[in-house]
């Protein structure tokens, strides 16, 4: 089970208490009726979905019930940092993001690595 640090409860809690709530830092236009259809499409439908570090909103729904933001690596599923809603987007360096090469590997290569690692463990 993943442990996620809630910035309001100030401790790590089991993932079952949390709910994912989409991409973070998607700014809504102050005058939504004035923006073009293309800009509205970008705001409403288009998400970054990168392979690597993503900034997401999460809600500690079965805990303090607060929304907060998190930076997560989509390859390793590792949470790099969590911070309160409204706080600025943190700078994440390449080293913080874990093995950077992972994000550029083909899925088959990743599987290869994990299966060969498994073999090593078995032989040990």
């Amino acid at each position: 089970m993943l442990l996620i640090r809630c910035p309001y409860c100030e401790e790590e809690r089991p993932e079952l208490e949390f709910r994912h709530a989409g991409e973070a830092h998607v700014a809504r236009s102050g005058d939504i009726a004035a923006i073009s259809d293309e800009d509205f499409e970008k705001f409403f439908f288009i998400r970054s979905n990168p392979k690597g570090v993503v900034f997401e909103r999460w809600r500690h729904v079965h805990g303090c019930a607060r929304f907060f933001n998190a930076a997560r690596n989509t390859v390793t599923d590792r949470f790099l940092v969590t911070y309160k809603a409204g706080e600025p987007k943190p700078e994440i360096s390449a080293e913080d993001a874990g093995p950077a090469a992972w994000a550029n590997r083909e899925p088959a290569e990743l599987n290869e690595t994990s299966s060969s690692r498994l073999k090593e463990q078995v032989t040990e």
Binding site: M1, Y8, C9, E11, R13, E17, H62, G63, A65, R66
Partner: protein, 189 residues
Amino acid sequence: MAKAAAKTATTGTLRRPALAGREVLAGGARLSVLPPAERMSLRAPAASVAALSRALGLDLPVKPKTSASSGARTALWLGPDEWLVIDQTGDPLADCAKVKALHSAVGISHRNVAISASGPGAEATLAAGCPQDLSLQTFPVGACSRTILGKVEIVILRTAEDAFRVECWRSFSDYVLDFLTEAAGDAAG
């Protein structure tokens, strides 16, 4: 059960609290459904905490996962601006009604059912369905939290080293008591 019980006397209808008086001795834990209590959901910004604390007669806890008690009244920190106030005798809603500072106080006395789990197997009983670390180091006496038991949301308060108060929604109380009964049987082994 003060006000809740008194009201039924005047209307003449018999109030039947869910699972009233049910008690289970299973394995290492005793589970008992606690008598009805006055409960209040309190939401307030930091600026109102001092005034509300004075009115309620206890210091509303502001640290995560902590509670404060005074007499038969307990305030549980649920979130940065949210508390659950439980009172066995008085009415916390009436006390908050006098407060001018911004707040929202909602009576939820009849929404919840409380079950106490006590005995040497109490911690293991709850841990069977609650993913949080309930050991004494991380969940000491007086600690409280909203969390999960199996598939329902509950609020846990540790009342003693080997005793917990579990608050769940009335409609989930059957599930919670059954779950804990099963778990207590396993906790014995």
